[in-house]
Amino acid sequence: MNNLLRGNTGDWEIVIGIEVHAQIISNSKLFSGSSTSFGADHNTQVSFVDAGMPGMLPVINSVCVEQAIKTGLGLNAKINNFSIFDRKNYFYPDLPQGYQISQFEQPIVGNGMITIDLDDGESKNIGIERLHLEQDAGKSLHDQHPSYSFVDLNRSGVALMEIVSMPDMRSPEEAQAYVKKLRNIMKYLQTCDGNMEEGSLRADINVSVRKPGDDLGTRCEIKNVNSIKFIGQAIDYEAKRQINLIEKGDLIEQQTRLFDPKKGQTRSMRSKEDSHDYRYFPDPDLLPLTFTNEFVDEIKKTLPELPDIRKKRFIDDYDLSSYDSNILVSEKETADYFEAAAENSNPKLVCNWVIGELFSVLNKINKTIEDCPIKAEDLGELINLIDNETITGRIAKDVFEIMLNTGESPVSIVDANNMKQVNDLNEIESVIDKIIEKNPDQVNALSEKPNLIGWFVGQVMKETQGKANPKTVNEILGKKLLKKG
């Protein structure tokens, strides 16, 4: 795939690296016993530790450590049995300690790699540089008062994983595929819920441009992009902005930028020159974080089947195409739904129905597969009714529509509405005979236009409200009308 952007002076290559902040799924915070649940009344989930009160000491949450290790394993990464917490010092009202406890030189997880799947069916490996544990900050509300900002510390101290990629992506699509894949892996692992709207997953995107083969250009960092769509838009805008500047003879200034979704543009953040001097040093309140290989092995045993493995199993066990399998596993919920529906049914048909009818309906009624009105088992049952020739494919679409609106089971819908397929040879034959008798002109025209047989099939279906077994109809029509030719 050619990812180059065309400028006035030739082709340009975009180089993208991403830092993802993922909120860890845990009951309590990284270093305190207050709750992490979303949407609680302000400042109710704040302990003296989270409020940065003097004399309070942080004690690490063992589950947060396990979640970080689990995620590291899911990213095929090196797990460091010895890591250090550092203080990252900066001044901001939503950071009561005056520093964020983070990991700087010795993170809990080192180099790893994930495979992203692109729309053209290709896949590509993206390197992971590191994953480290750190605290989230509180939240400032600026619109409550003309001269004051309001600070809510509920989020202060919640555990985050910062996952840093290598600068391995070359297009907005690759960046989007990377974040999607990362989110999907964490959802499979249940280490982060991946909810970008609630801020459980945020991306900082580093973008630079260069002529192919040149050294890396100066990069700009776009902070806190919170949707997959915006990631694509922000990179697209930023790359073109940089190319324009360079082609005008300007230099790119390394800076932090914000994406404005309304305008579809990035703009420079006003920041003081010293703001990046974080004066990291090891946090004297915390000992090194250590654990044994056996501890990591125990966690390894609890890993669920991850999307890449599941995809391979779908291809091998269900005989699905790589393309279809990819669509199914790319959201854990979709793959779960498919498997529940396919359990006692024909997997290939189920796959077609999920990707076809079901996706288009969910799209239309603006629902996700999690709150799908049709139960997976019911979809499987519907497909069995087609597969064992109880109903025709055409009738199945009507049944599907009723299931969607009423939530009733397909068998009861078919019974109640007398929708069963007509397989009785005599019954179908008598319908066909009647149609032949009434339409001598069409019968005569058949020798000239053999395609007219389709018209006869249509008439039979109309007469039987779509219930005649199509195979039988075709056979009898063939015997009666085409035997001469």
Partner: protein, 97 residues
């Protein structure tokens, strides 16, 4: 290693502390004395010694908590010492990025 006047001004700024000019000189002197004192450590050859991150026994590592909710829910106590608060929020001079 030593600090010059600019270093002191920068550190003060990062720490949100303002000094008068003569104070800056005094702190420059104090800081340099501290650094000189600590610099004695560099006389020791540490080539084969790994960095010390803690003076405790590293083998045991840090103590860990269970993942249970057993703290929080005392908003009044959290905000009582704040210079300014309203309806359970901390109020700070408006910050806009």
């Amino acid at each position: 290693m030593s600090v010059d006047k600019d270093n002191v001004v920068k550190i003060a700024k990062l720490s949100k502390i303002s000094f008068k000019d003569d104070e800056i000189e005094k702190f420059q002197e104090d800081l340099n004395q501290i650094i000189d004192w600590v610099d004695q450590l560099s006389e020791v050859n540490t080539e084969t010694v790994s960095p010390t991150f803690s003076s405790f026994d590293n083998d045991k590592g840090m103590k860990k908590r269970e993942d249970i909710i057993n703290d929080g829910n005392y908003r009044e106590d959290i905000t009582v010492n704040a210079p300014n608060s309203e309806e359970g929020f901390f109020l700070v001079p408006k910050v806009i990025d």
